[in-house]
Every structure is written in C-alpha cells, then in structure tokens.
Amino acid sequence: MSAIVFARHAMTPTERLRDAGWVAFVGLILGVPLIGLTTVDVGGRLGVETRFGLLLAAVAAVFAGRLLLRWSIDNMRNRKLARDRVSTATAADRAHGAQRVVNVLGWIALGASIALPIVYSDNRYVVDIATTVLIYVMLGWGLNVVVGLAGLLDLGYVAFYAVGAYSYALLSTQYGWGFWEALPVSGALAASFGILLGYPILRLRGDYLAIVTLGFGEIIRVILVNWTEFSGGPNGISSIPRPSFFGLEFTRSAPEGGHSFASFFGLEFSAMHRLIFLYYLILVLALLTHAFVSRLRKLPVGRAWEALREDEIACKAMGMNTTNIKLSAFAIGAMLGGFAGVFFAARQGFISPESFTFTESAIILAIVVLGGMGSQMGVVLAATLLVLIPEFGRNFAEYRMLLFGAAMVLIMVWKPGGLLSHREPTVRLKPLQRSKPAAAGTEVAQ
C-alpha cells in the first residue's frame, strides 16, 4: 500500500485523476458493506437499510483526499528539486551547514536540559518526564552503537536494560551495595550478557539476527517472570535503595548523628530535591555516555564498526577480525544499556518484568531509526518526540497510540533517513574553511 501512496515518480494530472479514481473505487467496494448497508430494528426483526447518500459522500471524500495527497506530494518534491537546482552550494558546504545546525542544536539542548529543573523546580510532572526522556536518550545512545554504527539489528536490547536493573536491585537489596559500587559491576554484567548473546549469532545478519535477538530479549524476561526465588517473579523487587548525594540521604528526618540532604544544606525538606538530583544524575550519565560513544566513533574500533555496517566482506579482506568487532559492539552497547537499567531501578525503587517487554525494545529501536542511524543528536530529538507525543496525546484518550503511530509514519515519509541523517566524517584531510574548529577530527590532519 505504502508503495502506491508514496510512488517515487511524479504524476501528470490525468494520471493523478486515474489514480484517485482507482482509490475511490476501492473505497466504494469496501464502503458498500461498511457504510452503504446498515441493519435496523424493524418491530423486533432485523431489516436492512441503505445509506447510499452517505456512501457517495464518503467515496467523494476519498477521491478528493487522494487527489490532494498526490498533488501535495508531487508539489513538495518539485519544490525541493527546484531548491536543489538553485542552490549552488557544494556538497562540502552543505555538509558543513548540516554539521553546524547539529552543533547549535546540541548546545541549545544542553543549555535547556541544565536549566530545566531550575525553571520547573516545583513541577514534579515536568521533571519526571524529562528524566524519562533522558533515560531513553541514554538507551538510544547505547543501542546506536549496535544498530546505528555496527549495523547489527538488535530487537532485544531491553534484555541488557533488565540485566542492569536487576543486578542493581539484587546487589543492593540482598548484599547492601550502594548505587556507585553497583553501577560498574552491573555494567560489566550487562556487557558479559552482550558477549554471551553475541557469540552464537556471529554469523547472522539482518532479519535473522533480529529474530535471534528478539528471542534473547524474551528469554531474559521469561526467566525473570518464572524464576521466583531469584527475581521475585511477576511481583518484582521492591524497596530498592535510592542513590544518595555523596552519602546524604534524601529523607525527611536526618539519621541518628548525621545529616540528610535537606538538613546539611539548611533547606526545608522537599520531595523535589531527590527528583532533581535524579534528573541531574541521569543527565551526567547520559553526557558521559555521549562523550564516550563520540570518542569511540573516532577510534579504530568505531571506524571498524561503521565499516562492518557498510560491508562485512570488505572488512575481512582488509584483515579485520569481524568477530572481535561485533562482540565489542554488542558488549559496549549492552554495558550502556546496563547503566541505564541501574539508574532506572534506583529511580523507580521497584522493578518487575513488566517494565522490560518487547515494546520497550521496539521504542528504543524506533528512537535510533527515527533519529537517523548513527546520529547522536538525532537520538536526542527522537527520544524527546517519542516520549512527549504520547504525553501530549493524553487528551485524546484511547486514540493516543494511534496518534503516536501516525507521527512515526509521517516522520519516516518526510525524512526516510531519520531526522538527522547527516554523517560527520571521523577524520578529514583538509579542515573545513569558515568553520569553528570542529571537534577532534580536524586536529589530526594538521
């Protein structure tokens, strides 16, 4: 269907009419039983009534709508072509412009995210949503390593998120570990699960890989549901300790002979303190993730991931050990997912397998794909959109998810390569003219 709706070539007016006619015809056939005929209660018996007027109106609407849709698609495409023809900018200039837009967007996003809890310091709802956005940003950045850079389609990413969350939950409730001790251990654990998943599927690619990762995600969830002694089963694990601010707890009353966060700073206790602290905590974690992944991308291992995505056979012919490259992508992606999981468990205070369903994996993958594969800034945009759209859609009640789906379809039609599909080279021979020194790539060549 989408192939018809979004046919690649432009149409002449007659073609457009014929096309709309066909669509209206399909509408008519479907409409006869759906709209044209209706049952009525005639004195206790069932009678059939015809509504051909309404049907005619519906078919006319389909015809007109189809004409309008085709016309606007062609019109938009022509305008874009005309724009491209007029602009004399070289490819390098355009790439440079795109990069500058991304940079500016990045600084704005950073400023906004730092200022947000200060502005909304007493709005619990906003800070909560912003924290959720940042969790998805971090997950998106983690999955971006596996899907966006290395090109390995992973539909079970939520498994590593779950491993991180459950590791922290168990380490803290069973062994009394603190957040900061448990964070690296849980990350390492998630990374080893990444390698564990990576080994059996080294030879798979594309669809086959996706199916196996999907299975892996389900295995982890099913184990968590059924192994009650270990994970608490469907009841999950509750009263997970919250992270403290350098040893200061966010409690109403200070512990014996010590201070709570509020009493130490001489503030009046407010439940918002902890939320804002959690917000900044995930912000710092996300920024560290970003710095780490962007740096890796410019290292041999990052270039190898991208090369693997582009052509695995050529990688082998260049003497690259594709086994190690794939496993490193899985391990690092899983580790970042694990970190996000630890934060999730610490923030919620309660986790259960319900939080780690396939839908989560699908949303994280959607964030990476909508954002533009491999684009760090695109992940931020897409995560913000995908969290906010369902929130804004609350007024639409049960049509919320419909709106969500429609938004995703529209974005992919408008920008098939994702919101930000520009790829910045990891190294340049000639630094760009007229540019601020753009990150580490340029300095190498000097």
Binding site: L296, P300, R303, K316, N321, R428
Partner: protein
C-alpha cells in the same frame, strides 16, 4: 634481491560446490615481484581461485603455499580470511567494487590500517585518553593514506563519501585501500572493468610502478587484453577450472589451445564476433 623466486605456489587445487567442480586440480606458480595475469572465459573459475586464495572459500583439496619474504612459509588454505590479509599480507580487490560507501575516501583508507591503529590504541584505552603514542600512530596513518591518495590522484576527493563517486574512481579507491594494508601479494579482480581507455592506460602505469618500484607481486584477473597483455610478465589461462596454458603473453597469445578456448581466431576477430553476437 634475495626473495625467493616463487612467492605463491598453488598445488593441485580443487574446489567443488556440491556436484559442480569450479576448480579442477589446478597448479600455478606466482613469482615474486612480477605481475601474473589470469585469464579465461566467463565462469572459468578465476574468481573462485581468488576466493580460495584469500580465505573466503576453503578449498576441497590442494595447497596454497606462500613464501612470505619476512614471515616465513604460510599455508593460506588454513587461514581465515582476515588473517590472510593481516598476517600473510595477501590483499584483494573485488570484481563488484566493495568500498565502505558512506565513509569518506580517507576513512576507507584509514580503516584499511585498522590492525596497526588498533594495536596503537591499546584496546581503545590509549585512544580514549588521546595518549601521544596513539595520536602519533593516527597521524602516521593519515599521512600514509594521503601518500597513496596523492599517488592515485585522489587527494581532492579525500573528504567525499566514497559511494557517491564515479565508478572508475571507486576502482582506484579500492586499489588505494588495498595498498594501505601493505600487501606482499596484491590480487586484483578485473581492475579495468568499466574503465575507459585512458583510465586503463593509467592503470597499466600504476601496476608497473607498484611492481617495478615497490616490488609488490600482483595477481591480476582481467578481461581487458590491452591491460593483461601489456603489463603481465606471465599469464595463466584457465578454462572450466583447469589450467590450459601458461607462459609469456607472447606464447599465450599464439597458443592454439588458448585461441580455441577463448580468444577466437585473433583479437580483432573476437571483438567483431562479440559485437555480432
């Protein structure tokens, strides 16, 4: 030179796919520091030979013995494909170009130096903290890539995405990328396919330079006779997986067996026959 006369010796190589015998008991010597041409009609098994040589296929029987000038003797059929390139330094290009299309030309050439750089980055740790050792290694890799770009007249395209460039240029990039792996034996699979006569002439020059000045042995599959006959020191002819002739371009050209299997009456006639068909 004290390098052994024979760099690679193929002995009784057979490759079967189910009932199909793509290569049938083939033996061939590739001399060091020379250009060896492999010709034969379509489907003769030339590319299969390359795939066996570079570890992409495991031969059914036979040995591929490489006398590496510094690292001793190696049996290529026992190595996985990435080690053929990394340890044995036998590097190939592909008949249907396989670049990393979204990466820039320079990045393509840097990826080819992955193993050197990866060692310098010490599992990415030195790289993450931008330690001087790694930065020096990266600078050297860029310089090396820039040197090959210069030599293949690609410098002005260094920062363009490789996949967006014209076909003939992509062929050159693929050769430049292979050279960045530092090969002792360079296997080129139809490097002149899709090139115009001027580009073919430039390719000839490049091959002679690589072989004559740098001493890289070249194994060349090619249909373009103006390339093979002009640059090869030695030619092997394969038909239906068997070697039917071997020798200098002159002797191969006049070999009745070869003419029957492949060339037709003579070169001009063959070209005309091809046009008529």
């Amino acid at each position: 030179m004290n390098t052994p006369a024979t760099l690679l010796s193929v002995r009784n190589l057979t490759m079967r796919f189910g009932g199909l015998t793509a290569i049938d008991d083939l033996s061939l010597e590739v001399p060091a520091g020379k250009i060896t041409g492999i010709i034969g009609p379509n489907g003769a098994g030339k590319t299969t030979l390359f795939n066996c040589l570079t570890g992409f296929y495991k031969p059914t029987t036979g040995t591929l013995r490489l006398a590496h000038p510094t690292r001793g003797e190696m049996l290529l059929e026992k190595l996985p494909s990435h080690r053929v390139a990394r340890d044995a330094q036998v590097v190939r290009t592909f008949q249907n170009i396989r670049l990393f299309p979204k990466m820039t030309v320079l990045e393509n050439l840097i990826v080819a130096q992955h193993n050197v750089l990866q060692r310098a980055s010490m599992f990415s740790i030195a790289g993450l903290f931008k330690l001087p050792g790694y930065r020096a290694a990266e600078r050297k890799a860029v310089e090396r890539a820039a040197m090959w770009l210069e030599r293949l007249k690609l410098t002005h395209l260094a920062d363009d995405a490789a996949g967006d460039l014209p076909y003939g240029i992509q062929r050159r990039i693929e050769i430049a990328r292979a050279l960045c792996v530092d090969p002792v034996l360079l296997c080129l699979d139809e490097p002149a396919a899709g090139l115009n006569p001027r580009e073919s002439a430039e390719l000839n020059e490049l091959l002679l330079y690589l072989c004559g000045e740098l001493g890289i042995a070249i194994l060349l599959i090619e249909h373009d006779m103006s390339v093979v006959m002009n640059v090869s020191d030695h030619i092997g002819v394969i038909s239906y997986g068997r070697k039917i002739a071997e020798g200098t371009p002159e002797s191969v050209r006049n070999n009745p067996e070869v003419i029957k299997a492949y060339l037709g009456e003579d070169e001009e006639e063959e070209a005309m026959g091809g046009a008529a068909a």
